[in-house]
């Protein structure tokens, strides 16, 4: 290790050729492209000096994929079949454009802050953000997912003037826990990764006192080297605290943890393929208790209005936080004033360290004393490390030596945009082919026990989903509290103090990488549809839903991968427009591919997680998915088409091809959701469950074994494409926008009055009834009995899979 301040010396890049610069970048894990190197070279040439090491590190970090989302914001030459067009900025042309066209007055902050913010009643607002922490979790699953939760909690804490976290969500994509193939040196077995990431989310969320009550699990062996860890947080804040601004003269105050050598190069590391040479410094262990102290002190200071702006120290540490806060004015930082964990840190290490549990505030000097008292009361450290200026420059010194002196404009706007090529080739024949044939009953039993459907109780029971006392609809439901819920409903008023307000909110997810293998465009629409119908099922208002996108993709340098990503982004655009649901925030994680044991690239399947949030106007009317009694009518909303492409049924049979489920008319789907919402709000619905993996058969089975009542379904009554004559399609097709609803006989006519009869209205039809005998009975088109399965057996098959593999 070189002596402190040695890095303030020059870092010679002028006159070096591309090869030498590339070597320099590789040595320091800078992940800068040739184009970026030459922009840096040109800038310092015009200044007639060499940069310092800290300056190059600051630029590399600020310009990293992680911080600037280069792929989404740079020009792309997109070739689809024979047509080629130029996309100038994928993000602006899809996600942002759709959100702007949808225009909702209740969106209070979009894309600019650390999280998206929507209004929640007249006084309050909800901040929602989902992050990924994939690369760190691949190296160290426990620490990676733990700091993933810590990071997204700080995002919400650093949103506006600070929101109080009231819900955590977690979604994991991992290899099968019983994977028996070879793995490259240094890779963790998927079972170990899964145990680790669950433990990390559990320990951080539970220790901070935030309920973890939503999420999902997806198993696919292509995730075995690059597991995906999505962590989400919802926070509640008063509407006056949504806006923030930094004024020149405000002090730069660092609060929370001390700065150490942890997590160096986390941001630049996310811009590179994951390989055996990953720097161990990119991995950290979280300190939940420290973050809880920061949370408590910060919210106390917020309510006394002691600071003007706040942001979290995420990837890039002080460099990123101070750089962002001071982007419009300028900042002057003295590194010697930052509290350190160890004394021997180089200046650039202090500046770039990604030590966890730190936040940066902009504090008017007159408030400093009061702020110090608030933080001291929580045993939380606080240090003034500089001030915001009017100079438009970022000036960092360490013991009077200049370490960084950069123009904010060059830092934030100087990134050269490289054009990339993208290719999309629509898949050929969609006819299903191959695979075995199974009896319907056997297929159903296999499907309920399939890893992507089976009970998640083994995971969910590790999380505290009750803390804060507002979890109205819990992740596990039914008479024995062990059935699969569609979404959680949270009543957050323990945090607001409005104890008489019955309004809550719900968070739901949609994800299906199998559809993406066939067509990422339809996958995106299906994901948004799934998230919205899950929300609707529990009683949330689908007309007030806001969405988050999280794209996880392989290398965008492969034109086919980038082409698929463009398709998915365009699907998101059309989903937002079609459902009138704006995207309020999002994140992308690229380069999720690694060399497998044979040295071949193993990319993950293109993965999109759509998270949705919507208010539940009256949480006392929220609905769970279990059958409530015998003799009730079962209605199916939505039309069934022959859409088995990427379905669980095909997966179980080993069949390829088929039509991917398509949302051809989001407006019709939304009409169905809104009608159902109105009926739920009037107390006319006993239970509702969305049809997703496994289609109608699986949804009915789950509602049955969770409520311990049977049901009789008549396939001839299904609203459907009249060309379907096969029973397996009707039972297992995964056509989107469908919900199975239980209604008491006396409420049927009132229920039906909520549904329109126009051409654009969603179809709704009575398809059967519940019964006391706990079996799933299905009558086919010809009147014969197709299925007569005891629910107990189905439930056992559904419950034993995960414990069988992990215990």
């Amino acid at each position: 290790m070189s002596a402190p301040t040695a890095d303030a010396a020059e870092f010679a890049i002028l006159g070096k050729d591309a090869k030498a610069l590339r070597a320099l970048g590789a040595e320091r894990h800078l992940s800068l492209s040739d184009l970026e190197w030459s922009a840096i070279q040109a800038h310092f040439k015009s200044l007639r000096r060499e940069p310092t090491l800290a300056e190059v590190e600051t630029l590399a970090q600020t310009w990293s994929e992680h911080c600037k989302h280069k792929t989404f914001t740079s020009p792309i030459r997109f070739t689809e079949g024979r047509k080629t067009r130029l996309i100038k900025n994928l993000f602006a042309e899809t996600i942002v454009a759709a959100t702007e066209s949808v225009k909702k007055s209740w969106c209070l902050s979009l894309f600019e802050d650390n999280a998206g913010v929507v209004a929640f009643g007249k006084k309050w607002a909800l901040a929602f953000k989902a992050e990924t922490h994939n690369h760190p979790s691949a190296l160290e699953p426990y620490g990676g997912s733990e700091t993933g939760v810590g990071g997204v909690v700080r995002d919400v804490l650093g949103c506006g003037l600070g929101a109080k976290p009231v819900l955590n969500t977690d979604t994991f994509c991992v290899g099968r826990p019983d994977y028996a193939g070879a793995l490259p040196e240094g890779a963790h077995h998927p079972a170990r990764t899964l145990r680790g990431v669950i433990a990390g989310v559990r320990d951080y969320g539970n220790r901070m006192g935030i309920p973890t009550a939503g999420g999902g699990l997806w198993f696919d062996d292509d995730y075995r080297l690059n597991p995906l860890v999505f962590c989400g947080t919802v926070g509640v804040l008063p509407q006056w605290a949504v806006k923030k601004e930094v004024k020149p003269g405000d002090l730069i105050v660092a609060v929370g943890g001390r700065t150490g050598r942890d997590g160096l190069h986390g941001a630049t590391f996310s811009s590179a393929d994951l390989g055996a040479d990953a720097p161990s410094s990119a991995v950290q262990i979280g300190h939940a208790i420290q973050e809880k102290r920061v949370l408590d002190a910060l919210l106390a200071a917020r309510d006394r209005r002691l600071y003007r702006s706040v942001t979290d120290c995420g990837a890039g540490g002080f460099s990123s936080a101070v750089g962002e806060l001071g982007a419009k004015c300028g900042a002057r930082v003295r590194l010697e004033d930052a509290p350190l964990k160890v004394a021997d840190l180089d200046s650039w290490e202090i500046w770039l360290s990604e030590s966890q549990e730190r936040m940066v505030l902009a504090v008017p000097p007159k408030n400093l004393k009061a702020l110090q008292a608030v933080f001291a009361a929580e045993h939380c450290e606080l240090a003034v490390i500089g001030e915001f200026t009017r100079t438009g420059r970022l000036l960092v010194t360490h013991h009077e030596r200049t370490v960084v002196d950069l123009d904010m404009k060059f830092l934030h706007k100087g990134l050269p945009r490289a054009q990339r090529d993208a290719v999309w080739q629509a898949p050929g024949s969609s006819k299903p082919s191959g695979g075995a044939t199974l009896k319907l009953a056997d297929a159903l039993k296999k499907m309920v026990g399939h890893l992507n459907v089976c009970s998640r109780e083994w995971v969910i029971r590790q999380y505290d989903h009750e803390v804060q006392g507002g979890t109205v609809i819990k992740p596990l439901q039914g008479v024995r509290h062990d059935g699969p819920g569609d979404a959680c409903v949270i009543w957050p008023h323990a945090a607001t103090g409005d104890m008489k307000d019955p309004m809550g909110f719900s968070v739901a997810h949609g994800m299906n990488p199998e559809y993406g293998r066939l067509d990422p465009y339809w996958m995106a629409l299906a994901c948004a549809d799934e998230a919205l119908r899950n929300l609707t099922c529990v009683g949330a208002d689908p007309g007030r839903a806001a969405l988050l996108d999280n794209f996880c993709w392989a290398s965008p340098e492969d034109p086919r991968q980038l082409g698929a990503l463009v398709r998915a982004a365009e699907g998101c655009r059309d989903a937002a427009k079609g459902y009138g649901a704006p995207f309020i925030s999002g994140k992308d994680s690229l380069f999720n591919q690694s060399k497998d044991e044979k040295g071949k690239d193993l990319p993950i399947p293109g993965t999109l997680l759509v998270s949705a949030i919507a208010p539940v106007p009256d949480t006392t009317k929220a609905v769970t998915m279990d059958f409530k009694g015998p003799g009730n009518a079962l209605y199916l909303i939505g039309r069934t088409n022959d859409e088995l492409g990427g379905s669980l049924y095909h997966k179980v049979l080993g069949r390829a091809g088929g039509e991917v489920p398509k949302v051809t008319s989001p407006a019709t789907a939304l009409d169905g959701f809104k009608s159902l919402h109105a009926a739920i709000n009037r107390g006319l619905v006993q239970s509702a469950h969305d049809l997703s993996e496994g289609g109608l058969a699986l949804a009915a089975a789950e509602m049955g074994f969770t409520g311990e009542f049977g049901c009789l379904l008549d396939l001839d009554e299904l609203p459907r494409d009249p060309r379907i004559y096969t029973h397996d399609v009707l039972l297992f097709s995964e056509s989107p926008s469908r919900i199975l609803v239980e209604v008491r006989p006396e409420d049927e006519s009132a229920f039906l009055r909520h549904f329109g009869k126009g051409a654009k209205s969603a179809p709704v039809r009575r398809v059967g009834s519940t019964m006391a005998n706990p079996i799933l009975k299905v009558v086919g088109l010809d009147g014969s009995v197709l299925l007569e399965e005891p629910l107990k057996e189905l439930k056992e098959a559904w419950q034993k899979t995960l414990p069988g593999m992990l215990e």
């Binding site: 190296l139 160290e140 426990y142 620490g143 963790h188 077995h189 079972a191 170990r192 150490g260 050598r261 942890d262 161990s280 410094s281 991995v283 950290q284 262990i285 979280g286 300190h287 939940a288 208790i289 420290q290 964990k341 030590s355 966890q356 045993h379 215990e807």
Partner: protein, 166 residues
């Protein structure tokens, strides 16, 4: 001018469940080790080992072990010597899993602060390791390999395997 140098000591405090209590953490670790092929291991018991450096006397360490680091009802604690214990040939192994010095140890940090809150001198550093006591026949390389694939991650952990007392 005279400079008073604070005496600096290093103490190791081990806190473990009393033998009459079932050790769920140990059972989970046993299942993981067996999953890695160490089927000859019959039992695993887990304890925590704290390394305290700084102006802390043996008395301070003992009182913290009793009142802070363990539960006096279910745990027993003792000051241990870092020296390797004499071999006894009884097929007992001791596996210590420490976080590497470059990785932040949140438990250790909290222990440091808690010392001060108890009115004891604050240690300069405190680190916490998990100690697995394995009962069963195996070779050291077998244990090291199985631990690296289940209980520890070589990227962030330092593992010390030694033969030990029951």
């Amino acid at each position: 001018m005279s400079v008073r140098v604070q005496p600096s000591h290093t103490h190791f405090v081990e806190v473990r469940l009393k033998p009459e209590y079932a050790d769920a953490e140990g059972a989970a670790a046993l299942a993981l080790l067996r999953g890695q092929g160490l089927t000859s291991i019959r039992e695993v018991r887990v304890s925590r080992l704290y390394e305290l450096k700084g102006p802390v006397t043996a008395n301070h360490a003992s009182s913290a072990a009793r009142d802070l680091l363990g539960d006096p009802v279910t745990h027993e604690s003792r000051l241990v010597s870092p020296a390797a214990s004499p071999l006894n040939g009884m097929n007992f192994w001791r596996v210590e899993v420490w976080l590497k010095p470059t990785v932040t140890d949140p438990v250790g940090e909290t222990v440091r602060e808690a010392f001060a809150e108890m009115g004891l001198p604050r240690p300069d550093t405190a680190r916490c390791a998990l100690v697995y006591r394995l009962n069963g026949r195996a070779t050291k390389p077998q244990i090291e390999k199985a631990v690296a694939k289940s209980l520890a991650n070589p990227l962030i952990h330092r593992v010390v395997v030694s033969e030990s007392h029951p």
